[in-house]
C-alpha cells in the first residue's frame, strides 16, 4: 500500500520559522528580569587555586552575583562524576570556569569578571595521553576512586586512566599464528571542535521557595541533563525543568551540561532572576568540548586470499580534563575499529586517559569516527600488499545477513555490501584514470563503517487530538537541525491517518513532554518513531471505535486517512473533526500513549551474558571520494564524494540527504582544514579566522545514495542515518590521496606539508617490491 508521507521529501515543519528569522534559539532568549552571565577562566592548564578575591568585582555597577566553586561545590559528569560546576580547589585545563558573574548587562558581567583576582600555584601539566600513562606522571584525579560512577565501567585509581576496557573473542595467538601476513600500523586522529554556528548557551532560573531550577537549553538531551542535574544537586526530578529551544547545531557538543552548569550556579544566587550565559566563539572553541583525539595501534592477521584471522587494537583516548561522555566513547564506539568485517579472533585494549586539555566529549560518530580512520586506512595497506582490489577486499570480508557480531548477535538487515557496490559504481571505481594535468593528480579511494545505536534506550510520547481534529505530538525530541520534528510528524500523520499540516510538534519541556533518552546515536527516527506508532495506533483505534458507534458500523470496516473516515468503497462517511464534535461537544481530546524500548527483543539475543553489546539496529555506510592533489603544493581538493548509507527506510529522503551531505562536508573540513594549534595547553587559534571550517568554496559534488534494507522492527523499516555519516570521509580521502600521489598519511589532519613530506620520503625510499 503506498504511503502518503513516508518516503516523501516533505518540506521541513520548521522551514518557515527558519527562513523568516523567527526561529528562536537559546541565544535569542529574553525573559523578564533577565541577567547576563560571564565566566572567569583558568589561564593555566594545571594549578591549585590558592585564593580567589571577588571584592572588587562585587562592587562593580550592575553586578548582582559573583559565584565561585566554593559557593556551589557540586560535581557532575557522565558515567564518572568527576567535574565541578565551577573549579573548587584546582584547575585542570586552560579555560576551566573558575568564577562567574551575573549582571544587568553582558558588558558589565564581562568587565566584573576581569576584576576577579585569582592566585594559582602552578602544577606540572600533561598534554600527551601517552605521557600521562607514564609511571612517574602526575596523577590528575587522585580522588578518582571516590567519584560517583556507573558500575559497568572499570576505573584505574592512582593513574590517569579514567576507564579501561579489555575485550577479546576467539584465540588471538592462534589467529596470528595462522595468518600469512601480519600488519602492524599506528594511526593518530586529532581533536576537533564541534563549532556549531550557535555557540553554547543556556539560561537558568532558581526558585528558592521550592528549591527548583528551570533551565533553557539547546541540548539534544534535556531529560538526561535533567537527570544529571538532579543527581548532582541531590534534588528530585520534579524539581528540575528543562525547556528546549531550537538548537543552532550541536553535533554532540551539547550532549552534556556546559553553559547550563554555569547558568545554574549563577541562578542559585540571583534571588529568582533568570541568568543567561552565552559562550563567545573563543570560549566555544577552547572551553566547551572537543572530539577525542586517539592513538590507535592496529595489528591484523590476514590470509593471502584476504580473509582475516585476527586483529588486536590498542587505543589510547585523549580525554582532556574531565571525562564527560568519554567512558562510553572508549567502551562502545571503539568497537568499530574491528570494522564491519568477519574476524574470528579479536582483542581490545581501550584506555581513556586524562590530560590537561579541553574536555573530550560526544562528537558525531561517538568514537566510530576515530576507529573507522584506523580500520579503513589499514584496509588499503592490506589490499595493496596482498594485491587485492580495496573494494574486493572489503566485499570479501563484509558482514552479510546471518553473520554473528563480536558478541554473537545475529546481524540482520545488513545493507553494507550494497553501500560498497553502489558507492563504488557512482564514483567510477575501476574506470581508467584521468590523465594528470600539469601538477594536479587525481585519485579515488573508499572507506566503510559500522555503527550501533545505544541499546537499550527508551522513548515515550503522548498524542493528543484536539476537539477540532488538530493534533499535538508531545515528545521529548528537541529539534537539533536534523529535521526531528518533521520526520516524527510524518510518522504520526501516516500512522494516525491525518494531514501532516494538522500536526504540531512543540519543543520539549520536561515538565510536560514524557521521557526521551536523547536525540543522539541516530536513535530518534527508530525509537521515538516506534513510540509514535504505538500512540498513533491507540488514538486511531479510539477514533474508529467512536466513529463506528456514530455510524453504526464495525470499527474494522472503517478507514481513517487524511482526516477522513471512509469504508472500503472509498466514499467519505464523516470527517475526523465531525467525530470529535460528536464525542467531545463541550471540549476535550483523544489521547494516545506510546512507549518503546528494544529491551527484551529477540533481535538482541547473543552469546550468554553478552547481550549488552547488541544493538537493536546496525548502520552501515560507504564513502568513495575523488580527490585532486596538487603535487607541487600538497593542497588537496575533494572533487566528488559518493556516499551510500544503509538507512533501513528513508522516511524523508531529503532529510536523509541533508545528514549525509552535511556529514561529508564536516568530515572533509575536520580532515583537511581543522586543527588545534596548542602551546602549553593553550589553544592559539581561537577564532574562525584561524580555525578553518569548510565554506561553499570547498563543496565537492556529493551524491547521496540511500540503501533501504527494511528493518523488521523499525517504523516503516527505518533505522537511522546521522552518526555514521561522519566516519568514512577521512579514510576515503586518505585512500584517494594514496591513489593520486602514492603516499599514506597516518596522522590526521591531512595537511599540504604532510603530503609533500611524505612524497619526498617515498621518493627517497621507493617501496620494495617482493
Amino acid at each position: 500500500m503506498s504511503q502518503t508521507y513516508v518516503g516523501k521529501p516533505v518540506p521541513r515543519l520548521d522551514g518557515l520559522e527558519k527562513v523568516t528569522g523567527q526561529a528562536r534559539y537559546t541565544v535569542d532568549l529574553d525573559l523578564p528580569g533577565i541577567l547576563y552571565g560571564a565566566v572567569l577562566r583558568s589561564p593555566l592548564p594545571h594549578a591549585r587555586i590558592v585564593d580567589i578575591n571577588c571584592d572588587e568585582a562585587r562592587r562593580m555597577p550592575g553586578v548582582r552575583a559573583v559565584v565561585t566553586g566554593r559557593d556551589f561545590p557540586y560535581t557532575f559528569g557522565g558515567p564518572v562524576k568527576d567535574q565541578p560546576f565551577l573549579a573548587i580547589d584546582r584547575v585542570l585545563y586552560v579555560g576551566e570556569p573558575v568564577a562567574a558573574v551575573a549582571a544587568e548587562t553582558e558588558f558589565a558581567a564581562q568587565e566584573a569578571a576581569r576584576k576577579i583576582r585569582v592566585t594559582y600555584q602552578e602544577l606540572p601539566a600533561l598534554f600527551d595521553p601517552r605521557d600521562a600513562l607514564g609511571e612517574t606522571a602526575a596523577v590528575l584525579h587522585p580522588d578518582l576512586h571516590t567519584y560517583r560512577r556507573a558500575s559497568q565501567y572499570d576505573i584505574v585509581p592512582g593513574s590517569n586512566i579514567c576507564t579501561i576496557r579489555r575485550y577479546s573473542t576467539g584465540n588471538l595467538e592462534q589467529g596470528f599464528a595462522e595468518a600469512d601476513e601480519i600488519f602492524e600500523d599506528e594511526y593518530y586522529i586529532h581533536a576537533v571542535a564541534h563549532s556549531p554556528l550557535e555557540t553554547h548557551a543556556a539560561a537558568a532560573q532558581y526558585s528558592a521557595a521550592k528549591n527548583e531550577y528551570t533551565v533553557w537549553t539547546s541540548s539534544d538531551r534535556p531529560y538526561r541533563l535533567a537527570t544529571v542535574l538532579s543527581e548532582a544537586l541531590g534534588i528530585s526530578l520534579n524539581q528540575v525543568r528543562f525547556h528546549s529551544m531550537f538548537s543552532g547545531g550541536g553535533f554532540g557538543g551539547k550532549a552534556a551540561l556546559v553553559a547550563e552548569a554555569v547558568a545554574v550556579a549563577l541562578a542559585r544566587f540571583t534571588q529568582g532572576r533568570p541568568v543567561k550565559v552565552v559562550y563567545s566563539r573563543e570560549e566555544e572553541l577552547t572551553a566547551s568540548q572537543t572530539r577525542h583525539a586517539a592513538f590507535m595501534k592496529l595489528k591484523t592477521g590476514v590470509k593471502r586470499d584476504g580473509t582475516f584471522t585476527a586483529r588486536h587494537a590498542d587505543v589510547v583516548w585523549d580525554n582532556g580534563a574531565y571525562c564527560s561522555l568519554g567512558p562510553d566513547v572508549a567502551y562502545r564506539g571503539v568497537l568499530t575499529i574491528f570494522g564491519p568485517y568477519r574476524i574470528p579472533s579479536i582483542g581490545l585494549l581501550s584506555r581513556l586517559v586524562y590530560t590537561n586539555k579541553e574536555i573530550g566529549g560526544a562528537y558525531r560518530g561517538f568514537g566510530t569516527t576515530q576507529a573507522t580512520w584506523a580500520c579503513e586506512a589499514q584496509m588499503d595497506v592490506i589490499a595493496e600488499k596482498l594485491k587485492i582490489d580495496p573494494l574486493e577486499l572489503r566485499l570479501k570480508n563484509a558482514y552479510v545477513d546471518g553473520d554473528l557480531y563480536l558478541n554473537g548477535q545475529m546481524m540482520r538487515t545488513v545493507g553494507l555490501k550494497d553501500t560498497l557496490t553502489l558507492a563504488a559504481r557512482k564514483i567510477g571505481w575501476g574506470s581508467p584514470k584521468q590523465q594528470a594535468a600539469g601538477s594536479k593528480r587525481r585519485g579515488i579511494g573508499m572507506a566503510c563503517t559500522i555503527k550501533p545505536t545505544a541499546t537499550p534506550t527508551t522513548s515515550y510520547c503522548f498524542i493528543r487530538i484536539n476537539q477540532d481534529a488538530s493534533v499535538v505530538l508531545l515528545c521529548g525530541s528537541p529539534e537539533v537541525g536534523g529535521g526531528q520534528k518533521t520526520v516524527l510528524a510524518q510518522i504520526a500523520a501516516e500512522s494516525i491517518g491525518v494531514p501532516i499540516g494538522s500536526v504540531s510538534v512543540p519543543h520539549p519541556d520536561t515538565q510536560y513532554t514524557p521521557f526521551d533518552d536523547a536525540v543522539g546515536s541516530s536513535r530518534t527516527t527508530y525509537h521515538m518513531g516506534n513510540a509514535i506508532r504505538m500512540a498513533s495506533r491507540e488514538v486511531r483505534e479510539k477514533i474508529l471505535v467512536h466513529a463506528g458507534k456514530i455510524l453504526g458500523r464495525q470499527p474494522e470496516a472503517l478507514r481513517l486517512s487524511e482526516g477522513s473516515i471512509s469504508d472500503g468503497s472509498g466514499a467519505e462517511l464523516m470527517t475526523l473533526e465531525g467525530v470529535l464534535q460528536k464525542v467531545v461537544p463541550r471540549g476535550g481530546c483523544i489521547i494516545g500513549e506510546g512507549q518503546y524500548s528494544p529491551e527484551g527483543s529477540p533481535l538482541l539475543a547473543a552469546a550468554p551474558g553478552q547481550t549488552a553489546m547488541s544493538s537493536i539496529f546496525w548502520l552501515f555506510a560507504t564513502h568513495a571520494a575523488e580527490v585532486e592533489v596538487d603535487s607541487e603544493t600538497g593542497v588537496v581538493r575533494v572533487l566528488r564524494v559518493a556516499a551510500a548509507h544503509d538507512v533501513g527506510r528513508a522516511i524523508n529522503p531529503a532529510l536523509c540527504e541533508q545528514q549525509i551531505e552535511g556529514a561529508v562536508i564536516m568530515g572533509l573540513s575536520n580532515t583537511l582544514f581543522e586543527e588545534f594549534k596548542m602551546e602549553k595547553g593553550r589553544i592559539l587559534n581561537d577564532t574562525l579566522a584561524d580555525y578553518r571550517l569548510a565554506s561553499t568554496m570547498d563543496l565537492p559534488q556529493i551524491d547521496s545514495i540511500m540503501v533501504e534494507s527494511m528493518h523488521e522492527e523499525g517504523p516503516f523499516g527505518a533505522k537511522g542515518v546521522g552518526e555514521p555519516a561522519a566516519a568514512p570521509t577521512a579514510p576515503a580521502i586518505a585512500n584517494a590521496i594514496f591513489d593520486a600521489v602514492g603516499v599514506r598519511i597516518h596522522n590526521l589532519p591531512i595537511t599540504p606539508e604532510k603530503i609533500l613530506q611524505a612524497m619526498r620520503q617515498s621518493a627517497k625510499n621507493p617501496p620494495v617490491q617482493d
Binding site: Q110, T633, L672, A689, S695, M697, D698
Partner: protein
Amino acid sequence: MNHLPPFAYFAPRSIAEAVAMLTREGVGAYPLAGGTDLLVRGKRGHPFAKTVVNLKLIPELRGIEELPDGIRIGALEVIAALQRSALIARELPVLAEAAERLGSPSIRNMATLGGNIGRASPASDMAPALIVLDATLTVEGPTGRRTLPVESFFRGPGVTVLTPGEVITNFLVPKMPGRSAATYERLGRSQGTECALLGVASLIALAENRLEAKAARIALAAVAPVPMRSKRAEAALLSGPLTEDRLWDAARGAAADCMPITDIRATAAYRREMVEVMTLRGLRRAWEQAVGGRA
C-alpha cells in the same frame, strides 16, 4: 555579545579636520576606515583606540578616476569597488585579481584599500599588486602632504612610516607599461576565504623584440615582516632572453630572498618552498599574457 571597549568618537568632514583631530588627540587616536581590521582588534581585546576618528564622511577620500599620470584610487574606496571597476579591469587587472581574493564578499564590501595598506599586515593581499604596479600613496598630516612609493611605506608588521596625525588619502597607480602583464598568485589550504599562506604578484614588461623583459617586478606577501620585492628574482628575469629556465631562476631567487616565519598556519620551510612554486606559476601566466596581449 562580543563588545567593543568604549572610545571617544569623531566624524570629520574634511581631510584637514581629520588631521587636526588625530593630531590633537595624540597617542591612542586611530583613524577608522572600513573597520574590518581595527574593530576586530577591539573585539579581541588587543590594545585598542581611546579615540576613533571615522574617515567615512570625507568625500575627498573616495573615487576611482583616470588622471594623466595614472589611476587615482581614494583611500576609502572599498575592495569590492576595485573588483567591479571597469577602469581597473581595463588598465590594472592585477589589482582586481588581488581584490577578488581578499576575505569574503562582505569583508570586501567594507574593507578599504587605505585600511588594508595602513594596517601593514605582512600578508596584505593588495600590497604586492600595488608594489609591482609601482604605485605611490599620498599622506596628509599636520606638517603637510607627501607622496611616497607603496613599497617604502612599511617598516614592520603593523608598523608604517606614518607619523602622528597622518592619514593615507589617495593612491596613484601609473598605467602599465606597453607589452606588459601582471598576475597575483595566492596560496591557502582551502579554496575559501582565509588568510593567505603567501601571495606573489609578478609583472613582466616585454622589450620591443618580445624575446626578453625590459622590466620585471616581483612582490611577495606573508613571507617577510613587510610586503617585499624580490631583487634576485627581478635580476634573474632581466639577465637575458625569457625562457622557462629563466623563470625558474627567478622563482628560486624569490625563494632565496624571502624571510618566512613559522606560525600557526604554516612552517617557514613550506612557505619558502611554495614561494618558488607560486612565483613560477605567476611568472608563467604573466609571460603568457604579456606575449598574447596588446602592443
